[in-house]
Symmetry: C2
Subunit: 424 residues, 2 copies
């Protein structure tokens, strides 16, 4: 048998389905975010990134960069070992304290990524509880599904954000059985939010343990940036809050927070935590600087919400198919992987706008989309430029446009409105 | 039911078995490696780290640190997204090219850690091959076992480095069935080495695909630091070479190298790769600087081997139970988790020497040990200090000492030899 053929076939299947991923080679420029350089062979072109998960631009914040560089200069580039074998560095200990404080929990534990934190923590918690039943929201992230599978325990999937369905499953399992409810606060592809308080009510009623993924919310919601649980005043009602250092905080790494007993158990039993090199001191110091800044400063959160709302309004005004979203995420429906890829290509090549196509398996087939993430640094003129470019793409690809909707602020001129006025 | 009780019980079980892990809070000092500051509450004490996996001290190399800080200043602290969604940064592309060149393979793929690279790559490769059988060395690392389990395919474990057993299993499976042989080059707890060439011969004979973990060898063996496969002249005979950026190279992250078809398939199908934020540009640039330096410079490798050999010789001369090791790793048998922890505590508190106890599940019960990793920066006087301290610990704990063995170089004075001579 020829092994290479199988690998080639697997890749060809993706190409046939038009969902083969090509990675854009980018060079971000600190101080110029969201602008970046796009490299193709020897050519370099300046583009505007509209799909970054560095939601607040904290990856380029001077405090964050200088914490990283100053610490790396003082302590070196790496941690030098696993947490247990010489890798626990003082900035990492400080970061864990900072995160426990942020979420008002007894303790925190850092992982190398949000993916690993979900996989390792969910599987370990479920294994430690006798005869545990996991109740998992239907739209949970791949990392959470991986954790559920790794645990090997029984699981039931509740329909997305459907409280009645969740209650049915809880009731059927009974109060005495160990039950772990796993869900997200912000679902990142649709931008909708879980009814956290009512899930916590159900957990109390049926005595379930609760685990929430706040990776698309930390830094961005709540008075100190602790996420949707903080905004909704329910941080103390969720047992485990998981988050990331890579999105709102702009660096890298993932974490959980909870009681000391919970954190100590995961720390002691999770292979994905135990057998991996610790986060470098420079990264930890950078993350701590970012968290501390966002605990005090609300300017980034306010500008983020303002520019997200403005982007939605301007795109809707242009008749573009903005999907309903309660948060900073602006999904634009295309509904076909090939057209989604083409739209992305035209945006990049013709308009210098980088928005990656989002295809299956990240979203269900038929809901392929452009997922736009405005940041505080996407100013009004960039929003206008985006809207004009998108209308051009929609017209080029003959994608359906809605009747333009009125926008309250009339300072924005959308090319399509001009075009229609002129043409019709 | 009280969830907290289960977590407390789980931790108590580890304490009862004397294998509860306490992490030392360390602050490494660039330029002073292997010295570090050990923090306990408000107190800080200078200690010597003797168990670091920063095997060559590259984490503090000026080229590595300046690549990290210069790049972070220019491009920011984080990558800002997954590889597919705006996270592919130019230093990451350069690092993948560098790694493909290092191992003389067509392509390379970076993961957030060595753990993730093994888990994600092994599980994905095995899933993509029809009816695949994994043949896994008995002493493979936790991350490889995790990958084997995640794949869900059938597996058979061959006795550690036992070629006859491996051949029996290959023969039984037959030439036609897809077979993936997964093994390590250097087994990090014993320091022994796999018979790579003969495994490759068997793979050819029975048409199996081969996957080797070189994490404890890259940077340290071979003319350009590509590992044991390079040293043994068999890089082209192994299909997938996996490595880490966190140990010999001193930074963080993991990778695989192989054919373009293989790398493209893993890139396109592995959830642990797809759904995670890319490595920050500063880390990538630091790793590239480290790899490039070690491709040219052999001074670190020579000093590393010299000081490892010296450490073994000096400890054997003192009658300490050095376990057989073919590599830079110096395991010292204790054989009991409680005494192993006590030995480590006395070394740290009395002698300022930090060597973490290695207990189950990292090693089999009854083989608990101190695992010593000399680096080029552990000079002769530090080796002598270590030997004297260990003899003191062995005597304090009434652990068995062998008859002191002669050492060729008589410049070393071991306290025990003095003590025995004086005492009669």
């Amino acid at each position: 048998m020829d092994y290479t053929l199988f690998f080639e076939d697997a890749v060809r299947a993706l190409k046939d389905e038009k969902r083969y991923r090509v990675f854009a080679d980018l060079e971000r420029v600190a101080g110029r975010f969201p602008r970046a350089l796009w490299r193709r062979g020897d050519e370099t072109q300046e583009i505007v990134v509209w799909c970054s998960n560095d939601y607040l631009g904290m990856g380029q914040h001077p405090k964050v960069i200088s914490a990283m560089t100053e610490t790396a200069q003082r302590m070196g580039a790496g941690a030098g070992g696993t947490r247990n074998i010489s890798g626990t560095n003082h900035p990492l200990v400080q970061l864990e304290n900072e995160l426990a404080d942020l979420h008002q929990k007894e303790a925190a534990l850092i992982f190398t990524s949000g993916y690993v934190s979900n996989e390792a923590a969910i599987s370990t918690i479920a294994k430690l509880l006798p005869d545990c039943l996991i109740l998992s929201d239907q739209l949970n992230h791949a990392s959470m599904i991986h954790g559920v599978r790794s645990s090997g325990v029984s699981k039931q999937v509740w329909r997305h954000n459907d409280l009645a369905h969740l209650e049915d499953l809880l009731k059927a399992a009974g109060r005495e059985r160990a039950k772990l409810i796993v869900f997200e606060s912000v679902y990142s592809m649709d931008g909708d939010v879980a009814p956290i308080e009512r899930i916590a009510d159900l957990a109390d009623k049926y005595n379930a343990y609760t685990y929430i993924d706040e990776v698309h919310a930390v830094g961005m919601y709540g008075a100190r940036g602790a996420g949707i649980c903080e905004r909704d005043g329910v941080m103390d009602r969720i047992d485990v809050i998981e988050g990331t250092l890579a999105k709102g905080f702009g660096v890298m790494g993932g974490y959980i927070t909870g009681t000391s007993a919970l954190v100590d158990a995961v720390r002691s039993y999770a292979p994905g935590f135990i057998f991996t090199t610790a986060l470098p001191p420079g990264l930890c110091a950078a993350a701590t600087a970012s968290i501390r800044h966002l605990k005090e400063s609300t300017a980034e959160r306010e500008a983020h919400q303002r520019q997200s709302a403005r982007t939605k309004a301007v795109l809707l005004a242009a008749g573009l198919p903005v999907m309903p979203s309660e948060t900073h995420i602006v999904p634009l429906l295309v509904g076909n992987p090939d057209l989604c890829k083409k739209a992305s290509d035209i945006l990049l090549e013709k308009h210098g706008i980088y928005i990656q196509p989002i295809n299956y398996p990240t979203v269900p087939r038929g809901t392929e989309r452009l997922r736009i993430t405005p940041t505080p640094y996407h100013d009004d003129s960039l929003v206008e430029h985006l809207a004009n470019a998108l209308v051009d793409v929609w017209e080029t690809l003959e994608l359906p446009l809605n009747t333009p909707q009125p926008i309250e602020d009339d300072g924005v001129v959308i090319r399509r409105q001009i075009f229609r006025a002129a043409g019709g």
